[in-house]
Symmetry: C2
Subunit: 346 residues, 2 copies
């Protein structure tokens, strides 16, 4: 129970030296079995735990990894995607024996004030960075830093390790699915093109349509910012142009879009088909259940932690890249479930 026990104390109690206790704790070989068990008994009895700080001072490792979510993500942070990602990363770092420190920057000012303290203070073994923007100033600074770094989501510069999902391929899948179902006026509620995910999903979607000889009409594209509200607003802008199917580049925006559709008295999927992207629980619970492209959020987070640890231990050398596949999840909102799989051509 006493908090301030040291190796030396345990040694004295067990009648051995500091060094021997250290060997026992670190499971090293050259310890006499009887001595080992005697020491273990004392450790057990006293409830001794090694002081991590002192250990870190010697080893140069702290076991702490930082998760940075930069500024301007207020709205993004409301996206359940982030909750899931944080959960995934947290679980993985618990498993790996890491401690997770969270850095939520509210604004650029805080970002630049805290960044040096965070990175150069020596407390962090490495950093996971999410929600980077194109030309992110944080990224530029970090890339030159000495600290191991893994990005979640494709960064727009080279030479950095990252883990991403196949946004491009997933959006192509979505486009193909809607075309195959016979829709003619297919629109998109896109994500901000200031993010690589937004760009990739938009390009993938456009390419998926083009591949089937159906260009995206400019009127049938409205941009959102990942928030539910923005999905709602974007869909309102789209409705006057009479789309018969809409792909929203995130489930959260799709839910917003659904509101707009219902408000306008349009039935989903009978009047307008709708698709999302992410595969969040919300997509399943919505009414009608959302057809979506599921990305493995938890796996992404877990891989980021693993990648970072490889970088820290030197088991890997930068840059490492991994892109997870995504999966089409067909539910009600796309109309594929309707008796007639060929919807009316207006």
């Amino acid at each position: 129970m006493a908090e301030n026990l040291t190796l030396e104390d345990i040694g004295r109690l067990a009648g051995v030296s500091r060094s021997t206790v250290s060997r026992v704790i670190n499971g090293q070989a050259n310890v006499n079995p009887s001595v080992r068990s005697r020491v273990q008994e004392v450790i057990q009895r006293t409830g001794y735990t090694p002081n991590v700080v002192a250990r870190s001072l010697v080893s140069g490792r702290t076991g702490v990894i930082g998760l940075v979510i930069p500024s301007r993500v207020h709205s993004l942070f409301e996206d359940p995607y982030f909750s899931r990602l944080i959960q995934g990363i947290s679980a993985a770092s618990n498993r790996a024996g890491n401690t997770l420190s969270l850095f939520l920057f509210q604004n650029e000012e805080e970002e630049s004030a805290l960044y040096p303290r965070v990175v150069t203070s020596g407390v962090l073994d490495g950093l996971i960075l999410t929600a980077t923007r194109m030309a992110d100033p944080l990224l530029a600074r970090m890339a030159v830093g000495e600290i191991p770094l893994v990005i979640v989501g494709r960064p727009d510069v080279d030479g950095i390790s990252y883990v991403d999902v196949d946004n491009h391929g997933g959006a192509m899948l979505a486009a193909g699915h809607l075309v195959d179902l016979g829709y003619q006026r297919i629109g998109i509620v896109s994500a901000p093109t200031s993010t690589t995910a937004g760009v990739d999903r938009l390009n993938g979607f456009v390419e998926g349509l083009a591949l089937r000889g159906m260009p995206l009409h400019p009127d049938l594209r409205a941009d959102g910012d990942f928030s539910e509200e923005s999905g709602y607003q974007a869909m309102r802008r789209l409705i006057p142009h009479r789309p018969d199917a809409v792909f929203a580049a995130s489930d959260t925006m799709a839910v917003g879009a659904l509101w707009a559709l219902q408000e306008a008295g349009l039935r989903v999927p009978h009047d307008v088909a709708l698709m999302g992207f992410d595969g969040l629980p919300a997509s399943e619970k919505s009414n009608p259940a959302l057809t979506t492209v599921r990305q493995p959020v938890t796996d992404t987070g877990a891989r980021a932690v693993q990648m970072l640890n490889d970088l820290v231990t030197g088991a890997a050398t930068s840059p490492v890249v991994e892109v997870f596949p995504v999966e089409l999840v067909v539910r009600e909102s796309c109309g594929a479930m309707l008796a007639s799989s060929r919807p009316r051509t207006d």
Copy 2:
């Protein structure tokens, strides 16, 4: 840029000793101004940052505070309330110069495996614990621990510092508001009574009704678990008993309840009035906008951080308690905005 500069290095570069550099960095008085500026110049030029780990080893403080969100909060974590709370705590600890470590326990097993490492390893100066349940096993263990501890939300045992909001008073306010508007069959979608917030809101509501001579009919109470889905289910159970007003003990459950009402073809507030609790952004964006009881989530988080730091520095001695007031926010869903402020009596 070089990561591995030490005090000694800076001293050599500036032609002074380790000690003097330390004094300059820590802003101590007895340093010759010219020497001081010379040292500062070297620090500036080299980009030196003190090694926090070494400093911690001496001072016994790390500046790291832990935020623990225990198991069984999967559904709770989807509640935007937690996102806001985490943001508030994060912002406050950034301001206070703390580093925030996040411990999300997925299950009891992880909880008991990680707890000793977390608390006794000496990395944490203190702990903030949220979402505690009645008779929380974690709490019992922590209360006896040596580490400073602050709970967000009233714990069900004495002798622990905590910060809470006036759940009881807020629920009374809600009850009073609905009674004053003339509703006769007032129901509640309550939060789990395994949480103190759930208990306090339920008791406050019952007391608020009783105070006006209107007992809560058992049929008009349905329990949820803070999730949207549970709010939906609870309201479906309530509808057959024809309430004319319902208080949901959280905004998230209120949103779920709204779905159920709309699905049943009931208009809010014309057919059934609805109230929430929390004052989350979602309550404002819902349609109709939700009348709710707003609690100062960010302030709560900030106060918890401050309280914890007081405990750590010894500026305060346990237990400290603070309860924030809440505020009635009248919007559309309660019917107060209707032309006739006296709704029909069925």
